[in-house]
């Protein structure tokens, strides 16, 4: 009897080890256009200096809206926590036709 109980316990332990660990949403890799902190992301770019290549290297791929005029709007949104409802706090960047960052803003998430 004791042997059976020990065998069962060992199986349970081994089974638990074999199961994939449940990850939270916060552990997942950032998706395109996603940042952990819009404010922190804002600190690593500079108006009048940062180019599109600089920003892509620092923050990754953005949600991009390009216009015939040559201006481009790039959007990064903070990853929402499990309980938070959209919209997320967002960092919005404007690139002039020259390719240099010309305006940026962080829009805080409106309270639900």
């Amino acid at each position: 009897m004791t042997r059976t109980v020990l065998a069962f316990a060992a199986c349970v332990c081994l089974g638990a080890c074999a199961l994939p660990q449940r990850k939270t949403a916060q552990d997942a890799p950032l998706r395109p256009g996603e940042v952990l902190s819009a404010q922190a992301a804002k600190e690593v770019v500079a108006i009048g200096r940062s180019t599109k290549a600089d920003v892509r290297a620092a923050l990754g791929q953005a949600v991009l809206i390009d216009f015939d005029s040559g201006y481009e709007v790039w959007v990064y949104r903070e990853r929402l926590t499990d309980k938070a409802a959209p919209p997320a706090t967002e960092l919005v960047l404007l690139f002039a036709p020259s390719g240099v960052l010309t305006k940026m803003r962080v829009t805080e998430r409106s309270p639900a």
Binding site: I65, F67, D68, V73, E90, K103, R105, T107
Partner: protein, 260 residues
């Protein structure tokens, strides 16, 4: 049989053209023009009178806007075209105009017709309170613009399902404007960087989701663009929380432009 008819018509066409040339007929009408129903526009004018308290100091005008890249706005004329008569309307340099009331035009179910083909222009109501600070609009004016625009059916989207939700515009009336976040497109005077609502000490910068036709939430936005009357005005397009009554009609809608 159908091909035979088409060939016959094709053979007749050069004769018709030659006849027109010989008689020096000047044709000013446009085939398949970008017309609106006069009755619908009058219904929009009646809506404006009924709800004028939203913008008590503003007059109503209608505005023509370019609909695609080839559209040239210079020399645009507009007329009320009925079965038995036509009445030219005066178009201001900013492409706005007023529509007079005319019982005969109503009776004949006339059209309001610019000298441009369908798909080249779109329409909006233009309701501007005079004397506002530069680069601002008044929320009550824009609420009424939406209601008049929906009543007169001024928007010109050509696909029923567009950007997910715009199809509602094809079916809804002015009540659509009372929703918290209707997707009725407004167009600023210049390409937009940001839109801020200001009421006393309260300020709110609108999310980028409300700019550029909601493109930041729609990965397919470029594919939908040819069907939207925002096609060449995408960088000026914005939505407003028209039905959010916590923002009074006197709320200023303040614009910062890309090149400012």
């Amino acid at each position: 049989m159908r091909w035979a008819w088409l060939c016959a018509v094709a053979l007749l066409l050069p004769c018709d053209a030659a006849w027109a040339q010989d008689d020096a007929v000047v044709i000013t009408a446009v085939r398949n023009p970008v017309a609106k129903s006069y009755r619908r526009m009058v219904a929009g004018m009646e809506r404006f009178e009924k709800r004028h308290h939203l913008a008590p100091e503003a007059p109503l005008r209608f505005k023509l806007l370019p609909r695609n890249r080839k559209t040239r706005m210079e020399g645009v004329t507009v007329a009320i075209e009925a079965r038995s008569f036509g009445t030219p309307l005066e178009v201001a340099p900013d492409h706005t105009f007023t529509v007079p009331r005319d019982a005969a035009a109503l009776k004949e179910d006339a059209s309001v017709m610019p000298n441009r083909k369908a798909g080249t222009m779109t329409w909006r109501a233009e309701i501007r309170t005079p004397g506002l600070p530069p680069n601002t609009r008044r929320l009550g004016d824009l609420r009424l613009e939406c209601e008049v625009g929906m009543e007169a059916r001024l928007t010109s989207n050509t696909r029923p399902v567009l950007f997910g939700l715009i199809d509602a515009l094809a079916r809804e009336g002015p009540e659509y404007c009372h929703r918290a976040s209707p997707r009725y497109l407004f167009f600023a005077d210049h390409p937009l960087w940001s839109v801020t609502l200001v009421s006393g000490a309260r300020r709110e910068v609108l999310s980028v989701d409300r700019l550029y036709g909601g493109a930041s939430r729609d990965p397919e936005w470029k594919e939908d663009l040819p069907y939207c009357d925002c096609e060449v005005l995408m960088d000026r397009a914005y939505f407003l929380p028209l039905g959010d009554t916590s923002w009074p009609d006197d709320t200023l809608v303040s614009f910062e432009y890309m090149d400012s």
